[in-house]
Amino acid sequence: MFVLQILITSLVTGTQVLLLAAGLYLIYTVTRTIHIALGASTMAGAYAYYLAFTLGWPWYGCLFAGILFSALLGAVCYLLLRNYIHKSQVLLALLVSIAFGVAIEAALAMGFGPEGRYLMDGILPTFDFWGVHITQVGVFTLFVGLIAGIAAYIVLHMLPQGRVVRAIAQHPQCASLLGIKERKVQFISYVVAGVVAGIVGILTGLNSAITPYAGLQPIAMAFMALLVGGLTDFRGVVVAAYLLVLIPEFLVSGSFGDITFSASWKLVFVFVIALIILAFKPNGVFSSVTRKS
């Protein structure tokens, strides 16, 4: 039962990381940039929800406010980065994204204070079965992850919009020649990633608490999942996100004779596991060795 409990709780965290990694993946696929500010956007969306909550809005109004604000931040970030994207100045784009993320965090800290906030009052209701428990928010997180995964697969592989995204990912110039509006697709990608980030922030806030700087660890893990997954291989990103959460959680939760690891070791294990995987599979978990020309 203990193993099952750790597995269930870790799947919730893994889904949150996966959703963020999916946003990073989408943006990288169409722009070849790493949008680190997405981490700060998760908390910005959560704080917008919190503000609406304190103003007494109904839950759907708070949800709308949170998601809308994150989407707007995504749009603003694209406008800040578009010149670097189009000139393929990847490093500058990364630096600007980091700076934007820091600015968002500082603004949240100044506006709301650095101490944690809750998005709902009282104890979270839980489902209890087979000797394990999971919060209702945790169930909803898993559900959102499942729906998002199915939707992403359908869009990318069955709908024209997905073909457009894959075309830009494969060859942006050829895609432009075929009449695909590259900039419009990139803008939409940033907005969609912002929406996903807002949802992740709100789910995180409902499940525990929010602070202005709480987006840093999830985005670091999402970035590692993207790297380990293989940057442009969505299957790899999915597997990597769960591997990088589940393995450290089990290592920290278990005991090996007299040896136990505290929660502080989690991030250490994340990076060690990522390094090990990348040492053997530098192009991603599902990459294969190809002959170089």
């Binding site: 428990h133 608490a209 920290v252 505290s262 929660a263």
Partner: protein, 383 residues
Amino acid sequence: MLMIAGCSDAGYEPVNSTQETKTPPATTQEAPKEVMTVKLGSILPMSGDASAYGIEMKRALDYRMNEVNAEAEKNGYKIELIIEDGKCDGSSAVNAFQKLTDVDGVKFILGGGCSSESLGIAPLLADKHVVALSAFSSNPEIEGKSPNLFSLSYSDKLVGEGLTAELGKYKKVALISEQNDYNQGIKKIVEATLKEKYPDAQVVSNEEFPKGSTDFRNMLDKVKSSGAEVVLLNPNVGVTAESLLKQIAEIKDWKVKYVTQFAYLNDKILGIAPETAEGMVIVDVPSISDEKFVDYKAKIVAANGTLDNLGSFYTATALDSLNILTKLYVDTKGDADAAQKALSTDTFTGWSNSTLTFGGKSFVQGVNVAVYIVKGGKAELQK
């Protein structure tokens, strides 16, 4: 000599040392033409995890400062209390200290607030001839760290030994501690005292979590699976403590005894999960029940806002630290070295204790801890 502290009509008991009143010149009744500004510094956690303490302490100090200055201005003085943010960490406290001493020329500092802040500035005090009096730093490492650093708080050693006395009643003990100076100090004392005095008590789980964490679910399941009979909850005050209690409450089939420190001496937090907190043992100093103090504290709350996190004891030490420092400044004419000697040897009176003496030590002597038990979402003093 200037009388600044000791306005009994403002609700404060005068400190227990000789006070002289400045006698105006015989030929004139006019007030002094110039008002001299006397600067005192303060290093408090105004942001970060312990900001609740810093903000509430500032409320108490601001209220008292109005009274002190109302009296001081009649005698041609005005006291300016310059508060810098120590952020509850050593390096920020050092930056704050350097700003206070190098830019503002301060020699008397009220602080650090957190133990991290006091430990951070301790090595700098003697060389710069600055004296510091903290209202709530409690890490035992402060003892002897600097001859110029004093604390009106009790040492965590007292609390740690009190917690251990409660934990030692059980055979299987689990410890959950946050990774910051205060909580790690408590943890080390508990571990050492358990080993020394309660060898039959076995620590079956010893978990730590990073400072400011908010998700403890897997860690709590790990502690639950260890089979512990009693759990020491050792988080910092505020959202961390609240989140920990909320997530414990989610585990419906976990019946275990909880022992904790002042982070849970807060009816608002206990009221969030009263069933889970029922029977929780909290070890801390007794709250101050003196009627005059209770009334005075109520006035501060009415004027400036809640002091729930600071509590009655630390509100008292905050006021005492300001009164003692201002009195010493006046008595020594701003000589920090003389003030250091006075703090080491003299006896003072304050809200927190009728007899405040350091006796050559860093911590005020004679403070004892008490035990509270939570009943119906409220902590009730037992002894």
